[in-house]
């Protein structure tokens, strides 16, 4: 241990890192939250284009919680984790949890460019964007609210 070592306890240098962030349901707070993606992405040396993809996926999950969830606590709870699968590359994981009304994601219509252009239904792309930009997306939802767990490898 070096003479100026300051960290006395907690996970060791190579261990998992988890940071949790709670934001209010309010405009632009999703952008404030993306700062944490940038910080942790840089922490694991994730390429900037991938960091941008995680940021957009987070933005989409947050604005869904803002717009659709009708949260009981007027907040959205985010957890960010960096870690590594055995022998695998580092990953950045983002969990977006709202205490809202929940929804049945299997019942959500999958959007297509054709419906978007000729059908007049322009919205409905948030979940699709998350799935396209992240390596894994797991949605759990119920009366307790909604949890979106997304992971991207560096």
């Amino acid at each position: 241990m070096s003479r100026h070592e300051i960290v006395r306890s907690g996970p060791d240098g190579a261990g998992p890192r988890e940071v949790s962030l709670t934001i209010p349901v309010a405009s632009d707070m999703e952008i404030v939250a993306t700062a944490q993606v940038a910080a942790l992405g840089e922490y694991i040396d994730m390429p900037h284009d991938k960091i941008d993809e995680v940021k957009l996926a987070l933005v989409e999950a947050c604005i869904n919680a803002f717009e659709h969830a009708h949260t009981r606590d007027d907040r959205v709870h985010l957890t960010f984790r960096v870690g590594r699968d055995e022998d695998g590359p580092d990953f950045l994981e983002v969990e977006v949890f709202d205490q809202g009304k929940g929804f049945d994601h299997s019942g959500v219509e999958v959007p297509t460019p054709e419906k978007t252009f000729t059908g007049g239904k322009k919205r409905g792309w948030g979940l699709q964007i998350m799935r396209s930009l992240m390596d894994t997306v797991v949605i759990t939802s119920g009366e307790w609210g909604t949890k979106i767990l997304m992971r991207k490898y560096k």
């Binding site: 405009s27 993306t34 989409e60 460019p113 978007t116 252009f117 322009k122 919205r123 948030g126 930009l133």
Partner: protein, 118 residues
């Protein structure tokens, strides 16, 4: 609060160039739409959106850009994008915006292509 997108518009003949700076969400998208329609009403034939200084466009912002694109096509105009980040480019492709609008790496290339349609 400076998260909101700033927009600068310059008219060059019948082409209007829009430079955005910042996050394009619902408000940013609507502001672009408002100014785009004003340019069309003022006789612009082609619109170029230079997104060089925008790093995030959310899906609501894109849905508004798609509305703008439809209006421009209704009027037989042209809408082109340039200087997209890889993530914005990818999202435009996912949502199909890239199928109906042209995307160019640089503003010069967009200007040339748009002039050729005039």
């Amino acid at each position: 609060m400076n998260e909101s997108c700033k927009i600068v518009v310059e008219r060059r003949g019948d082409v209007a160039i829009f430079w955005t700076d910042g996050y394009i969400n619902n408000q940013g998208g609507e502001e672009i739409a408002r100014q785009a329609y004003a340019q069309l009403d003022a006789g612009a034939r082609a619109l170029i959106l230079n997104l060089e200084k925008t790093r995030i466009v959310n899906s609501i912002g894109i849905s508004i850009l798609i509305e703008v694109l439809e209006k421009v096509m209704d009027r037989k105009g042209v809408l082109a994008f340039c200087s997209l980040t890889p993530t914005i480019d990818k999202t435009f492709r996912i949502m199909g915006l890239a199928q109906y609008a042209s995307i160019y790496p640089t503003q010069d290339q967009a200007l040339q292509a748009v002039a050729a349609t005039g």
